[in-house]
């Protein structure tokens, strides 16, 4: 049977098990949307902006482990995806993004809404391709899903010209995917792994470093078992947080720029660093030449190019984290070292992470409440101070999921990602933590949350500043708050160094804004009202609730390793 390209598109999506598609129509995607009309198996979500759309697909993918699917039109529809594609690429999130394109005979003519989206996204996605012949359409879509979810997952872009969408062809839907240049690794090098395990046995001061790869592989449970047997201290990256319950006795904390004192000291003093699924980003390593200076380093990663790129590694092992950990479980021994573990406990006690202001409404108290309420839920953050506080204070039990833009650090990620997470997990509680800056970057998606009737709790940590940059300015730029005050107006005094309480009111009023979106809005000034606010939000089952927490701008994220410093050179107090 001959089918139009649009029908083959829908058929292939069904075969791939797509149940939700995030789509925004337009001139060169309208035929595809027509083919989706009335489809029972695929729910089409209509966001309010393509950037929101792709973060929603991203949140869906992160929280379900399935591929997030986007469909947008050519030109501006496609370019609005760019930030979201880069975000997914950095955090290894499987997405397939379909973009409409002008007809093949118009490509290159600067036609209306024509852009070379494959060229634009080439360096920020795992694979990008324009379908040039109708006969290749089904094969390319199937390959796109396979590439997106296998190996190190990532975003794939498929650009479909209008004439391909309309052309007829008799498709073969059953042909299995086989790509000669793409064969993801599916085994573990036993020799290397044995060598690594021997080193683990001999080490006196070993440390496990778990990155996002452990979470992506779904290896949290196996990893926790491994740690419980080996009894070795564990530090995590931001993306690796939650790989092991935070109350596990061997869990030390996060490492890196805003890691805990004990974690950073553990890295600096260990004699063996056993790392799994991390790419040793600069936020993790600090000054490279002084990173883990006394340690032999073992590195397991699914991607060969992540190994020995930033940090020179002694034992490289290319493997999927879950497979590697399962293999390790077969031969792991107790590696407990009394002296080393108690040294780490001592560091933990010496400097616990705590807010500078002990009284009043502080981030740690809000996050503590969230930890207690959402143990089986999904916590989503935006990017900035609130994100770092969340990674510092959030308690996770192994079932809790944390979604955050760790690699690209995309402001505006949180709100839409929470929507995607809720759509993918209707039975789970979803809470989003944003700053007042990032909240406004995709605020239009409140309408999506309302129209999809999603009971999500959106917390805004409002300190009326772009707080993370403000913190840099306070610490390293002599308190010159250049372009970071969000209450600043034209009529304000220039070069305002010491903002006082007579500042103009904050715009927008988030409570009125919530009301205008027909969502619920709660403003919290006092510590005593935190609990009540969350209770009220929980009672709103019909739609989203915004809780705006009015915070002091002076609260900083500490400890902090200033850029270029070694990990053990932290600012601990201010």
């Amino acid at each position: 049977m001959k089918r139009k390209g649009t029908q083959a598109f829908v058929e292939t999506l069904k075969q791939e098990g797509v149940d939700i598609l995030f789509g925004y129509p337009g001139g060169y995607a309208v035929d595809l949307f027509d083919a989706l009309y009335g489809q029972k198996d695929i729910e089409v979500i209509l966001p309010r902006h393509e950037q929101g759309l792709i973060h929603e697909a991203d949140g869906y993918a992160r929280s379900t482990g399935k591929v997030g699917v986007c469909l947008v039109t050519s030109g501006p529809g496609a370019t609005n995806l760019v930030t979201g594609i880069a975000t997914a690429n950095y955090d290894s999130i499987p997405l397939v993004c379909f973009t409409g394109q002008v007809s093949k005979n118009l490509i290159g003519n600067d036609a209306f809404q024509e852009v070379d989206i494959v060229g634009i996204t080439r360096s920020i996605c795992k694979y990008a391709i324009t379908v040039r012949e109708r006969k290749d359409l089904v094969r390319i879509i199937k390959e796109a899903f396979y590439i997106a979810k296998s190996g190190k997952p990532g975003p794939v872009l498929v650009d479909i010209p209008k004439d391909i969408q309309l052309a007829l062809f008799e498709d073969d839907f059953d042909k299995p995917v086989s790509i000669r240049g793409y064969k993801p690794n599916t085994s573990v090098h036993m020799g290397q792994l044995k060598k690594a395990m021997d080193m683990l046995d001999k080490a006196k001061r070993p440390v496990f470093l778990a990155g996002g790869g452990v979470n992506i592989a779904g290896a949290g449970e196996e990893f926790t078992n491994l740690v419980n047997i080996a009894r070795i201290p564990v530090v995590t990256t931001i993306m690796g947080k939650g790989a092991i319950p935070t109350d596990n006795p061997y869990y030390v904390g996060n490492v890196g720029m805003h890691g805990s004192y004990a974690s950073n000291m553990a890295i600096s003093e260990c004699d063996l660093l056993f790392s799994i699924g991390t790419r040793f980003n600069d936020r993790i390593t600090g000054k490279i030449s002084e990173f883990a200076p006394n340690a032999a380093i073992i590195h397991i990663d699914i991607e060969a190019s992540s190994i020995s790129r930033n940090i020179k590694v002694d034992v490289p092992i290319v493997a999927d984290a879950k497979l590697a950990i399962q293999t390790m479980l077969e031969r792991v021994k107790d590696c407990f070292h009394e002296e080393w573990n108690s040294q780490i406990d001592k560091w933990k006690l010496e400097h616990t992470i705590r807010p500078q202001n002990a009284i009043g409404l502080t981030p740690d108290k809000i996050i503590k409440e969230i930890s207690a309420r959402y143990q089986d839920g999904i916590i989503v953050t935006d990017v900035g101070q609130h994100q770092m506080w969340t990674t510092q204070y959030l308690e996770m039990n192994g079932r809790t999921k944390l979604l955050t833009s760790g690699g690209l650090g995309t402001m505006g990620f949180g709100l839409p990602a929470a929507i995607g997470a809720k759509l993918g997990n209707p039975d789970k509680q979803v809470v989003c933590i944003s700053g007042d800056g990032g909240m406004q970057m995709n605020i239009q998606e409140m309408a999506t949350a309302v129209t999809c009737e999603l009971p999500i709790t959106f917390c805004i940590f409002n300190n009326s500043y772009l707080g993370m940059v403000r913190q840099f300015q306070q610490l390293f730029f002599n308190k010159r708050y250049s372009s970071t005050c969000l209450r600043c107006r034209k009529s304000c005094e220039k070069n305002c160094f010491d903002p006082n309480k007579e500042c103009p009111p904050y715009s927008p009023d988030f409570i009125q804004l919530a009301n205008s979106y027909q969502a619920k809005g709660i403003r919290v000034f006092k510590q005593e009202d935190i609990k009540k606010a969350f209770e009220l939000a929980a009672s709103n089952k019909e739609g989203p609730t915004i809780i705006e927490f009015m915070l002091e701008e002076s609260e900083l994220v500490l400890p902090m390793v200033p850029g270029g410093n070694a990990l053990n050179e932290m600012i601990l107090d201010c």
């Binding site: 080439r122 360096s123 391709i129 324009t130 590439i147 790509i179 240049g181 060969a304 190019s305 020995s308």
Partner: protein, 165 residues
């Protein structure tokens, strides 16, 4: 920093060259030369790439290239026996009879061919190693006033294996 060579088998598709060359510009790798042409299989192209890099960077480049979906195989040619040549065309635009004779002598020495000739100009085709072609260009620039040069970049292939000798 050292000059290193590799051979790349890639899908013969639109955009693959952009993807490969984009890696070098995007990650600030130092690309020295890149040639590409179809193989006996029209769906596969073969590239010969020369980079200036240290050991660690070269390893990284190979890994990065290997992980592209469109790249079928990466072969490191740095430490293997290879045959490698570059094509060079050198045109001398204002040559008198005496100079033309000199051009014949030079091309004899370099193993080059005279492939075209006019009243006052003469065209040399030289298929030699890159280093040898460099010498020819230097010499011509010194001896003649008005020259035009085009070079193809090197192509390389592994020598016949020892077991087959």
């Amino acid at each position: 920093m050292k000059k290193r060579w590799m051979s790349l088998y890639v899908e013969n598709e639109v955009g693959v060259l952009a993807r490969v060359s984009g890696l070098f510009s995007g990650k600030s790798y130092n690309l020295h030369s890149l040639t590409v042409g179809e193989t006996q299989d029209p769906t596969i192209s073969r590239m010969t790439i020369c980079v200036d890099s240290d050991d660690a960077t070269f390893e990284q480049i190979k890994k990065q290239l290997n992980q592209f979906v469109e790249v079928i195989k990466v072969v490191d040619l740095t430490n293997v026996l290879i045959h490698m040549k570059e094509i060079l065309y050198l045109k001398i635009l204002t040559a008198n009879e005496k100079e033309k004779t000199q051009v014949y002598r030079i091309s004899d020495v370099f193993g080059a061919k005279i492939v075209d000739i006019g009243r006052s100009s003469i065209l040399i085709e030289c298929i030699q190693t890159e280093a040898r072609n460099n010498e020819l260009v230097q010499l011509a620039a010194k001896e003649f006033t008005n020259i035009e040069v085009v070079r193809g970049g090197s192509v390389a292939i592994e020598s016949i294996s020892i077991s087959d000798r």
